[in-house]
Subunit: 277 residues, 3 copies
């Protein structure tokens, strides 16, 4: 018990519960320009959290839509150049209105279109949080950056990876949330680790994208990107733990995940959030 | 018991059961041009009802496809101008073939693109039913219409809202189905209220769009738009009540909703439909 | 027992179990260019099987993406000419790299765009397996082909249908998988029938498309298209049987189907696969 106290940050756990309470109270509108595969699931995840999802990608309306929103989620999972242009347009308007922006660079590193589009968005839009897996995040380093020239192959240990990510966050001037067995969140100065989660999450498509929209909802009610990302991931990861306990496979896991996100007591999250600062 | 008889229309309840029976017997093809978020869910809702869904949006094929259909559903949830053009084309062909058309003006009032697109479709296509929430429906009033100049702000009571909607239905020459805690359906002359439903429906994305496709299926087997809308909404709302009783959150609610829509006995709907005329 | 041995091929049953084992071991990347309605479901089906799904349709990246893939799935369910062009591009690259290609001609026969697009893809891309229902498959016969001139109306019996399909497979130089109450798979020389499956599968949208991606996953680990198709369909069909036993309607059936695909023991499939050669 005393040991648990030392391992996980009690203040962050309290903030996780508090941010969840605020999402449920304020029901922020989260505007997503996202991929076709996960649209339905991430909209349901946002509703389960207490937020209000809206999807709109037409260049003719993204600026108007984002002006109604509490945060903007950009996800390049099934991108085309026209969609990326709409993301840029929405992102610039969000910046002008101080609506926080979160980017999910799905598949960056896998194809040039994805890597280039993600980097272009990062250059043209001020982004508060970028969430991805390790290879996606590491692919964002510019050609000449110190983070890149080290190369992915040079990252042999978890600690080396962390060092690279911290350097990249500094370079890009944003908060990076690298999700995996344990999550690493850093703004280049501070570093958090979130130990909640369950491996069953990898058996359902869009759980990464779902983590992103939850951070989006938390960003809409919390002005510190590092805190929003860490607490949002903790909430989502703990929901995954609870859902896995109820599930008999990936189908029932996905159903249980929505039930658990919706029904989770804030007090419960406070006592079970596993965030290290 | 006697009181229930006075509150809810027995003839409409009988028609609800009868229309459900016809959908299951005829398995009408419902052609949807709809938004990405709900495509999978609404297709499954139609299958659960006994209807046959088809999604097709290419300008090159919508006319051919709608000529095979029992009804056409137009939903502007993730619209672009090209999709609206395909909706117009499909709608005009549907009119020529006397295939009934139902419009779901998702987000009308929120952005100019949505409001304008919905109004343009209403002008260019003869639409038998428009289903939306109150703010979407009220946004459809033209700039100079009596309904509009009153303004949304002037609608202070449920009765005032009803009056405005009735006037708008007359103006637009269509049947309006305003869904909410209670549903209001009117063709400008007759007025129905449907009291079935459950608040859990708001925690799942696309339940409004699902209500729309069910009306679409009922329109394919019932020539009176007011009756099709009221009975379809009653079926869907009662399914929501039953599903909520089985569910432990929005995930299991959505699953149960499909099960209940599929398994509902017509006799049961007849005895539990809450339609007022 | 002895009778069962004669009815169903034990060697194919063993191969079904073996191919499933290989999918789970190799986790092949299955690149799908598919329709909006089923993207989420088929991605989850692939994950449940043990494969890795990726969806990418931009002309700018399909060639790069398919070069990372173990197989390519083309599905014309919500096609536009631009998507078909991306499918052609991906297909040609797949051919150059010897990545197997599977086509799902959703709705071929229903509109000219679909029929023509499917035939165009078959002409321009070497396709290892085409999976569809009987009317979709029969619509693929060219204007002057013997298969076509017989006409759909002339197919009065199951045996006549089989004869037509075998002739068409020879003509097209590919393996055809016609799914229905029983599945017929032929490469023009050999003929298999798969008797696994459950009628509840017709109450969920995208089960046909799901069968296609499973064949795609099996093709990535098995070089014989006929074997990949027959064993994949047997796995999927038997999963349907098990899921139906757990389900109380189409909603819970879909959930159970993912659970069962994920949890199925290879030994169980071996003893329950119903493949006739």
């Amino acid at each position: 018990m005393g040991r648990k106290k030392t391992m996980f940050d009690q203040d962050m756990a309290r903030k996780a519960a508090e941010n969840l309470r605020r999402v449920r109270e304020k029901r922020p509108l989260v505007h997503s320009i996202t991929n076709y595969v996960v649209m339905n699931f991430t909209a349901n995840v946002l509703l389960a959290c207490g937020a209000s999802p809206v999807m709109a990608h037409a260049a003719e309306e993204v600026e108007e839509m984002v002006s109604l929103a509490g945060s903007l989620v950009l996800n390049i999972g099934t991108l085309t150049p026209a969609w990326v242009e709409a993301m840029r347009k929405a992102g610039e308007k969000a910046n002008a209105l101080h609506v926080p922006v979160i980017l999910d660079p799905v598949g960056a590193g896998a194809t040039r279109l994805r890597t280039d589009s993600a980097r272009q968005l990062i250059e043209e839009v001020s982004i508060q949080v970028i969430r991805g897996n390790a290879s996606e995040i590491l692919s964002l380093a510019g050609e000449k950056s110190g983070s890149r020239t080290k190369g992915v192959d040079s990252v042999h240990t978890v600690d080396q990876a962390a060092e690279t990510v911290i350097g990249l966050a500094k370079e890009l001037g944003t908060t990076l949330a690298v999700t995996g067995a344990a999550d690493l969140i850093t703004d280049g100065e501070r570093v958090c680790r979130v130990m909640n989660g369950h491996e069953m999450m990898r058996s359902v498509t869009g759980t990464g994208c779902a983590a992103t929209v939850i951070i989006g909802a938390f960003l809409a009610v919390c002005s510190d990107p590092l805190e929003a990302a860490a607490t949002g991931l903790s909430y989502f990861g703990f929901a995954g733990e609870k859902a896995a306990a109820k599930a008999s496979g990936p189908g029932s896991f996905q159903v249980a995940l929505l039930d658990v996100l919706h029904g989770m007591k804030e007090e419960e999250l406070r006592s079970r959030a596993k965030i290290q600062v």
